[in-house]
Assembly symmetry: C2
């Protein structure tokens, strides 16, 4: 295996449940320097594992292992960290507890401090749910985090975003084979339905209008794109894991904790890190307007939309090289500041 | 019953099937004048029946029965005109044939001409799939149609729109109770899943951000809106009827016929009617950009976005009085020209 495990022991969650012997899977790139001041934290996105983050790391890039020490913590529920699919009875499968982004970032903070003794973080960055965790890092540990660069994500799941996810969940669980999460074999119909619902949200109207699925990504037809890209994306994933992360997403809110007591504007105001907030210009679930509101309440933030027709995929996972170059360039600029 | 039936006889469809003894349900408002020059045709929308069009008709409105003769033809598959739910064996249920918008408008043309002897139409207008049929009227009968006002719809189902509908369809049919269309009782799980998928598409991000579901529509919570409005909307409808109309929508294209042989720009160019093309400014499935392209190829068209955060529901069905007033005002302006 190409990653490490940090044993969190018994992780007590915001919701009251305990994940016993909770495992946090992570991967690092580069070397922590003696001053411990070259740290970048880069959380994962919905259903992605650490390898699905690697497109933004490389020689000559902002996230360059030659100079930076990059830590990718896997989100709880993603199949590598503790998840429905790998947790022993009795908290296995659909009994796996609800986990908030707060729970995730608190666990990641323990990894960073207890395992590595890190006190300062140069940058936290991430795509989508990785951006959600990035905002949490900024709000929960303002004295530790120097810079954040959340892209194609939000500090709080918007009501519209919540509804979109309700549709995704309803499609998956409409399959009788899902069996309330006690499936003996993969709920294939539900996973494929979920994929088709997702397909309209993931890329923008302009992306489809310009036929970039064919002309750039090289699929042979729209149906081929739906089957090969979208169904192919979700079919290998565990349904309960997907639902655990979906719940995490829906309940994302940097202020839903004892620090901010639901005062969202106060939590945004507490993010003193220098922030580049980078929504995708055509993202259908994290529209620029939501980022504008966030930035207006953050003391040290700039709004930098990614000028792209790739919708949510402007931010990842390395799908469009032009967008990768844009984001990488902004990260370099931010790190140099 | 509050509507009439026009017997189309054996309707041979574009796809080659025949709906024998095909019934076209319609309702009229007002009186056809002696000159037969006060005719407005107002087709129905996805899953709607004629009564769901009546919000745009009334004394003092553009569509005023005191002066206009308004005909609402029910779309084939909507449960009143010939549909999976009311067609006898062997073309019943999931065996009901695929029907294009072209098939629908050709049938409506027979009603208009054979039943009423009408040669000129002052205005064709409609919301959503009603707009799709409106564009077809303009392209198929340019010498007959003086004005068209399609709102929140398109002349051709865009690829993105097609994908959104794939998600809706996948959610509905993921329910094993759907049984390939041979359900003995309502596929309730699938209908509810379909409703949840639709919910994110129907209204805009801004609508949800501003909590208009609560503050204007009066629902008691977001979940109440999803259950009472959305699930309540789809549950009474027949699943096969919904899929028939969905197929019609996905295959909407004013040029997919022997007049235009797939030349979409040519078909748009043939719409000589004075046209007000009115997309919803925040409609997620019929974005303004698609209407812009259409208008650019139409010789006598104006682009008039409906300035609204109500997404697709800016266009109907009378949900937001401000939008109704806007559309009604533009129809008056168009009729006066």
């Amino acid at each position: 295996m190409d990653y490490e495990i940090f044993d969190l022991g018994d992780l007590v969650l915001q919701g009251g449940a305990t994940i016993r012997n909770c495992q946090l899977a992570y991967k690092t790139f580069g070397t922590l320097n003696a001053a411990k001041d070259n740290v970048i934290v880069y959380p994962t996105w919905y259903s992605g594992q650490h390898d699905a983050n690697e497109w933004l790391i490389g020689a000559g890039m902002a996230l360059d292992p030659a100079t930076q020490f990059i830590i990718i913590p896997n989100m709880i529920g993603n199949g590598l960290s503790s998840s429905p699919s790998n947790t022993p009875e009795p908290y296995n499968g659909p009994r796996f507890p609800n986990v908030t982004p707060y729970d995730n970032v608190r666990a990641q903070h323990r990894l960073i401090t207890e395992k590595f003794g890190i006190e300062r973080i140069r940058l936290v960055t991430g795509w989508s749910m990785g951006a959600l965790q990035t905002f949490h890092w900024g709000a929960l540990y303002p004295d530790m985090v120097e810079r954040i660069a959340p892209f194609c994500g939000s500090a709080k799941c918007s009501r519209h975003n919540f509804v979109f996810l309700e549709g995704v969940k309803a499609a998956l669980t409409a399959d009788a084979g899902f069996a309330g999460g006690w499936y003996k074999s993969k709920p294939e119909t539900g996973l494929r339905a979920m994929a088709r619902v997702y397909a309209g949200w993931g890329f923008s109207q302009a992306f489809y209008r310009q036929e970039l699925d064919l002309k750039t990504l090289g699929y042979s037809s729209l149906e081929d794109f739906l089957v090969a890209f979208w169904e192919g994306f979700f079919l290998p994933k565990d349904a309960n894991n997907l639902l655990t992360m979906l719940w995490t997403w829906q309940h994302g809110d940097i202020s839903a904790n004892e620090m901010y007591h639901g005062d969202f504007h106060k939590a945004l105001g507490a993010i003193t890190a220098k922030a580049y907030v980078m929504p995708g210009a055509t993202d259908l679930y994290f529209p620029v307007a939501d980022s504008e509101i966030e930035v207006a309440h953050m003391p040290n933030a700039q709004l930098i939309p990614v000028p792209s027709v790739w919708g949510h995929f402007a931010g990842g996972p390395g799908t469009n090289p032009v967008d990768v170059a844009f984001i990488d360039g902004k990260l370099k600029e931010l790190l140099a500041s």
